[in-house]
C-alpha cells in the first residue's frame, strides 16, 4: 500500500480517475461534478442565520436554495479526501503563505490573505456569472461537448494567465 503514501501520482492517472468518477456521478446520482454553487448555498444559509426567512425574498435564492444538497456534500468530501491523501503522504500541515508567493511577493500573512479574499470573491462572482467553475464547466461540461463550457474553460485560463503574469511581474516593475 506504499502508493497511498506517495506524495504525487501521475496527473494522467488522477485525471483518468476523475473521468471514471464522473461516469458514476451521472449514473448513480444524475449529477455532474461541480463545486461553485455550494458556496452560494452557504452564503444563503449564513444570511438566513442573520435575517431569517427574509433571505428568500432574494430572487437568486429561489433557484439556488440555501440548503445542503448533493454537491454541498461533495465539496465537504473534497476537504476530507484531500486531508486523507495529504495525511497519508505526510504533507498535511498548517500553512499561511504558500510558495512561490513566499519568495516572490513577500512573507507577510495579511497581504496574502487579502489578495486570496479578493480572488475568492471574483472566483465566486465569475462562477455564477459564467454558470460554472473549473469542475462544472472545465471538466463536466467539456466532456458533455458543450460549446459554452469549452469557451468558459478557455476564458478561465486566458483571464488567469493574464492576471497571474501581471501579479508575478509586480516585484520586477
Amino acid at each position: 500500500m506504499e502508493w497511498l503514501a506517495m506524495e504525487q501520482w501521475s496527473p494522467y492517472i488522477c485525471g483518468a480517475g476523475i473521468g471514471i468518477l464522473s461516469w458514476f456521478t451521472l449514473l448513480l446520482s444524475d449529477k455532474a461534478l461541480g463545486a461553485s454553487t455550494s458556496y452560494a448555498r452557504t452564503a444563503g444559509m449564513l444570511e438566513r442565520l442573520v435575517r431569517g426567512n427574509r433571505v428568500m425574498e432574494r430572487e437568486f435564492f429561489k433557484s439556488v436554495t440555501p440548503t445542503i444538497d448533493w454537491q454541498w456534500m461533495l465539496v465537504l468530501g473534497i476537504v476530507i479526501g484531500a486531508f486523507l491523501s495529504a495525511t497519508l503522504s505526510g504533507q498535511a500541515s498548517i500553512r499561511w503563505v504558500p510558495e512561490p508567493w513566499f519568495s516572490a511577493l513577500g512573507t507577510a500573512v495579511l497581504p496574502r490573505i487579502l489578495v486570496a479574499f479578493v480572488g475568492g470573491c471574483l472566483l465566486a462572482l465569475g462562477s455564477r456569472w459564467a454558470g460554472g467553475c473549473t469542475s462544472g464547466h472545465g471538466i463536466s461540461g467539456t466532456m458533455q461537448l458543450a460549446v459554452a463550457s469549452w469557451i468558459a474553460a478557455i476564458c478561465f485560463f486566458v483571464g488567469g494567465i493574464a492576471v497571474a503574469t501581471l501579479l508575478y511581474a509586480l516585484p520586477t516593475l
Partner: protein
C-alpha cells in the same frame, strides 16, 4: 433501476460525500490542491492542471457518451452567451490567479492545511456568492447578451457525437505528447 436511488435524498447526500472524498483524494494526489502547482500552470511553467483536466475529459467523455447512447444517463448541456460565458469566464480567471485555487481545489487545499485557502479563499467565495445574489437582478439581463448559436460541438460542426469525440481525443493526446516532448 437507478430512479429509486437517484430520488432518495438521504442516499444521495451520502453518495455525494463518498464521491467528494474520492474526488478530493485524486485532486490532492495530482498536486492540484497546492497553490504552487496552480499558479505555475497560470504562469505556464507547469502543465499539471491541464493534464488532469484533459485526462478527465478524455476518459469521461467516452464513458458518458457510451452510457448516454444506451439511455443510461442524462446529459445537461446549457446554452451560453458572450455576456455570461466570456465575461463571467474572464472574471473567474482573474479570481483564479489571485486566489491560486479554484472552487473545487480550494476545498482540497483547506483539507491539507492551507489557511490562505480557508480564511481568504472560502470566506471570499461565500462573500462573492452573496454579492452575486444581491446584484442578481442587475447582472441577469447582461448575461443574456450575445447568445451562442449552438449548444453542442456536434451542432457547430453538423456531425455526430463520435465524430467529435474521436478527433477531440486525438487532439488532446497530441497535446499531451507535445507537453511531454517539451518537458512541461
Amino acid at each position: 433501476m437507478y430512479d429509486t436511488l437517484r430520488s432518495n435524498s438521504g442516499a444521495q447526500k451520502a453518495l455525494g460525500l463518498v464521491f467528494g472524498i474520492i474526488f478530493g483524494f485524486f485532486l490532492q494526489k495530482a498536486g492540484v490542491t497546492t497553490y504552487k502547482v496552480i499558479i505555475n500552470q497560470l504562469l505556464l511553467t507547469d502543465f499539471t492542471v491541464l493534464k488532469v483536466m484533459m485526462s478527465a475529459v478524455v476518459v469521461g467523455t467516452v464513458g458518458v457518451h457510451f452510457m448516454h447512447g444506451r439511455g443510461m444517463v442524462n446529459l445537461d448541456v446549457r446554452h451560453g452567451s458572450f455576456g455570461a460565458t466570456v465575461v463571467g469566464g474572464l472574471i473567474f480567471g482573474a479570481g483564479f490567479a489571485l486566489l491560486g485555487y479554484c472552487p473545487g481545489t480550494v476545498a482540497g487545499a483547506v483539507g491539507q492545511g492551507a489557511m490562505d485557502a480557508l480564511i481568504g479563499g472560502v470566506l471570499g467565495m461565500v462573500f462573492g456568492s452573496w454579492l452575486y445574489a444581491v446584484w442578481f437582478s442587475k447582472i441577469s439581463p447582461f448575461r443574456e447578451k450575445g447568445p451562442f448559436t449552438h449548444a453542442r460541438l456536434q451542432d457547430v460542426f453538423h456531425i455526430g457525437t463520435w465524430q467529435v469525440i474521436v478527433p477531440l481525443i486525438v487532439l488532446i493526446v497530441a497535446l499531451f505528447w507535445g507537453l511531454e516532448w517539451l518537458g512541461l
